[in-house]
Amino acid sequence: MAKVADAKTFKGTPGQIRQQRIERAGALSLSIIAAVWMIANLVKAPEQFAQVAISGLRNGLIYALIALGYTLVYGIIELINFAHGDLFMLSAVFSSFFITYWMGADKSNGYGWFAFGLCLVVVMIFGAVINVLIERYAYRRLRHAPRLAPLITAVGMSFLLNFIGLKWNGSTPRQWPTVIPSGDIYIGEIRISMITIWLFLIGLPLLLGLNYLVTRTKQGKAMRATAQDRDASTLMGINVNKTIAFTFALGGAMAGAAGLLYQQSIGTTNYNLGFQLGLIAFTSAVLGGIGNLWGAVLGGLLIGLIQGLNDGLPIAFGQQWSQSVVFTILIIILVFKPAGLLGKTVTEKV
């Protein structure tokens, strides 16, 4: 057993210290730039700022829910499930058909809310089942294959789901009525839609529920163990296959919920939704720290906020650069601080 050194005095090897300093300097300068930008906009158009901030955060909640799916799966099998965004899209389409056609609800009344609640349960099951099936039949065989193989499969799966969405939804975006109570409340000049409030009211319990599942239950513990060391977990009697399936189910359920919430709040579905939002959600997961659940939430809210501010504020790049802004953030994080905001930089022992 090697000696346990005085952990407090050890800062790191010279190389690591240099790296930390670069990261800190980079983070500091980026934060300063971001802060200056926000303050400039705040001064120039305060109500607009608050307005877009709120809608940005609302989008961020949806990103967070999707990001959770990415981060859960990556945490346990180190795979970027490219198809996850498309699962979200399919869930949105599913929700629209469920509520509007199959249940025939199109108004915000008692029946509508009932349809919504039922749909929430059903779409989460839908998402969970699809995700588990994908894992079982496409990814499981490749679990021990070199990294290139499952990655390529995930991309292929994404195309497949995209195709299903194209056929189901049609090639043009579709509008759907909402059954969530709408209407606005006003704080001064700032309009907050009831939908936004309801989104948070529904989203928060979901997040808390997920957190409970992961941290307090036996299955959750099995998940975390498998994520850390798959072989050791098997030796400890954990059924790795079941645990991974469970993880995919959770991620799929989150995507399902996100699909419903998106469809009810934004009101449209589009077969390309998965690709657009998928990468944004993954960036959120990476920003927050891949593998970290609260990181995904934080990342989602942050990205939503930044995107909202960029799209809506006077001093910004504007909506046509939205994707590029998000991708630039992704690249910067991956290159300079791949562990993200809440992740830990781990020194790998070879």
């Binding site: 090697a2 000696k3 050194a5 050890f10 090897t13 010279p14 190389g15 070879v350």
Partner: protein, 259 residues
């Protein structure tokens, strides 16, 4: 005797764990030295520091009079420090010859344009390299597998090929990580003869990490013992054999404590 490689006051820390604690280790020219110690003693970590895979938390490495601590692994290899791996890490999908040619990468000079055009200079360089590779393959006893995929070779031949590949770097120091793992007594003896022949014929020093005490005792001019990341003894085989601290840390039977 001058040292070809000097590691001074090396410490390696992983988080709160001190894997190597203030170890000084020198390899004299044209010598055969060994590093032994119980499992977990920090040998492989220290070894990885010597080859540039890890950067030490403290201390420095001097090679040929210059400090190389901060050099990237490929530069260290280029300058003449070669190693083999505990679990064979050959390029299984390349031929034996290609494995060696990869090791010669840093000594070959052809660039993209001359490779595409196959200039006379590039062709000459390639055929000279191939000839040299064949010579090393023959020397290591795997000369007949020149164009065979490394993966197809027998275990013993793969070990030999790994050494051959390391030799293709034209090294001054050869670092071997458990080279006789999985070998029987006869194979180990062949290996011992090979190393002795190598050091006598070339200007090279050899360092081994080994668990096979017979091999260690037979080959080494000097043995260093690590335990819990610290150097607890250093001396000739006889000195080490009778050192009570060593015996205590590492109940090594003189008849060969094999895994």
């Amino acid at each position: 005797m001058a040292n070809v490689l000097e590691a001074q006051n090396i410490s390696v820390q992983f988080g709160g764990l001190l894997a190597v604690n203030n170890v000084t280790f020198n390899i004299p020219n044209k010598s055969i030295v060994s590093l032994i110690g119980p499992n977990g003693a920090g040998k492989t970590t220290f070894f990885n520091v010597l080859t540039g895979l890890y950067k030490p938390s403290a201390g420095k490495i001097i090679y040929g009079g210059k400090e190389i601590t901060d050099l990237p692994p490929h530069k260290i290899a280029e300058s003449g420090i070669a190693r083999t791996f505990q679990n064979i890490r050959l390029f299984g999908l390349m031929s034996a010859q290609e494995n060696l040619l990869v090791a010669m990468h840093s000594h070959l000079k052809s660039g993209i344009t001359s490779t595409i055009l196959r200039t006379p200079k590039q062709r000459k360089e390639e055929s000279e390299a191939e000839a040299k590779a064949q010579e090393i393959l023959d020397f290591a006893g795997v000369g007949k597998w020149t164009h065979e995929f490394a993966r197809n070779l027998s275990y013993g031949d793969q070990r030999r090929l790994e050494v051959a590949r390391a030799l293709a770097l034209n090294p001054k120091v050869l670092l071997l990580d458990e080279p006789t793992a999985g070998m029987n007594a006869q194979e180990s003896q062949v290996f011992i003869d090979f190393i002795n022949k190598l050091v006598s014929e070339r200007d090279i020093a050899v360092m081994l990490i080994e668990h096979d005490m017979k091999v260690v005792m037979a080959l080494s001019q000097r043995i260093t013992v690590l335990d819990q990341g610290e150097k607890i003894a250093e001396g000739s085989p006889d000195e080490i054999r009778n050192n009570p601290r060593v015996i205590e840390a590492y109940l090594g039977k003189p008849k060969g404590a094999r895994k």
